[in-house]
C-alpha cells in the first residue's frame, strides 16, 4: 500500500491510497496512515481509486482511523473505490458508517455535511 498526500492543511486531510490493503500490502503502513489521519484530527478524504485489493485487515485500518477521527469530531469519507473494493465495503456495511463518494465534489460535500 502506498500513501500519496494530495492536500494536508488546516481544513482537510486528502490522501490517495494505492496497491493492496491486505497483509502483503500493508506491512506497517497502517501506522503511517494513522499518523496522516487520526493524529491530524482533520476532516479526511481517502481516495481509494487505485486500490486493487482490500481484505478485512485493510477495512479494519479504515475503521480504526474513522473511529479516532469521530472521537475528535472529524469525519472520514472514502472516494471512488473500484467495483470490487466497493463490494467488500458494502458487504461489511462500511458505507453506513464511513460515507462513500464517487466524485471529488461529492466527497467534499459529504465531508462538510
Amino acid at each position: 500500500m502506498q500513501i500519496t498526500e494530495i492536500r494536508l492543511d488546516q481544513d482537510i486531510t486528502h490522501l490517495a491510497l494505492s496497491g493492496r490493503l491486505d497483509a502483503a500490502g500493508m506491512q506497517g503502513t497502517d501506522i503511517r496512515f494513522s499518523g496522516f489521519t487520526a493524529a491530524r484530527r482533520r476532516p479526511t478524504l481517502v481516495d481509494l481509486s487505485q486500490v486493487e485489493f482490500i481484505a478485512s485487515l485493510g477495512v479494519g485500518m479504515l475503521i480504526s482511523s474513522a473511529k479516532a477521527l469521530q472521537r475528535h469530531g472529524a469525519k472520514m469519507v472514502l472516494l471512488s473505490p473500484s467495483d470490487a473494493v466497493e463490494k467488500v465495503l458494502l458487504t461489511l456495511g462500511i458505507d453506513q458508517v464511513i460515507p462513500i463518494a464517487h466524485s471529488l465534489d461529492e466527497g467534499l460535500r459529504l465531508l462538510a455535511s
Binding site: 491486505d22 502483503a24 478485512s56 477495512v59 485500518m61 467488500v88 453506513q96 458508517v97
Partner: protein, 137 residues
C-alpha cells in the same frame, strides 16, 4: 483440464505473503479472471491470517493449501493441525452497528460467507480441513 497449486508452509506472515504472490501468478496463468481472482485472493488472505493469529499451538505449526482450477470453479483446500475452528460457529456479523461500536477485526468470516460459493469444514482426527469453492466461469 485441472491445474493445481499445492504448498506446505509455516503459519507465518512471510508465508502468507509468499502464498498470495504465488497464487496470484498461478491463477492468472490458469486463466482465472475477475471477479473470481479477487474472491480467491480474499479467501486465502482471510483464512490463512486467521490460522496465523488464532489457531493456537500445534505440533507442526504448518498448514497445507491446495488450489485447484477447473470445471468452471476454483477449489481451495486448507489443512492444519491447530485448534478446531468451524466458520459456521462464528457469531453472525452485524453490518448495521454504528461506527463507535465497530472493531477493526472480526469481519473475515462474514466476507467468506458472502463471497464463497461453498464453504465446508471438517475436523479429521487432529486436523482441520476447510474447503471453499469460487465460481470461475
Amino acid at each position: 483440464m485441472v491445474e493445481v497449486l499445492e504448498r506446505s508452509l509455516d503459519k507465518s506472515l512471510p508465508a502468507l505473503i509468499q502464498l498470495a504472490s504465488e497464487a496470484q501468478a498461478f491463477l492468472a496463468g490458469a486463466g482465472v479472471r475477475e471477479p473470481a481472482m479477487f474472491k480467491v485472493q480474499l479467501a486465502l488472505e482471510e483464512t490463512v491470517r486467521n490460522l496465523i493469529e488464532h489457531s493456537g499451538a500445534s505440533r507442526t505449526n504448518r498448514f497445507q493449501v491446495r488450489i485447484e482450477v477447473g470445471a468452471g470453479r476454483v477449489t481451495i483446500v486448507l489443512e492444519d493441525d491447530g485448534q478446531p475452528f468451524d466458520p459456521d460457529s462464528a457469531p453472525p456479523f452485524d453490518p448495521s452497528r454504528p461506527l463507535a461500536e465497530r472493531e477493526p477485526h472480526g469481519m473475515g468470516v462474514h466476507l467468506l460467507r458472502h463471497f464463497m460459493q461453498e464453504i465446508h469444514y471438517e475436523r479429521l482426527g487432529a486436523m482441520n480441513r476447510l474447503r471453499m469453492v469460487v465460481a470461475s466461469p
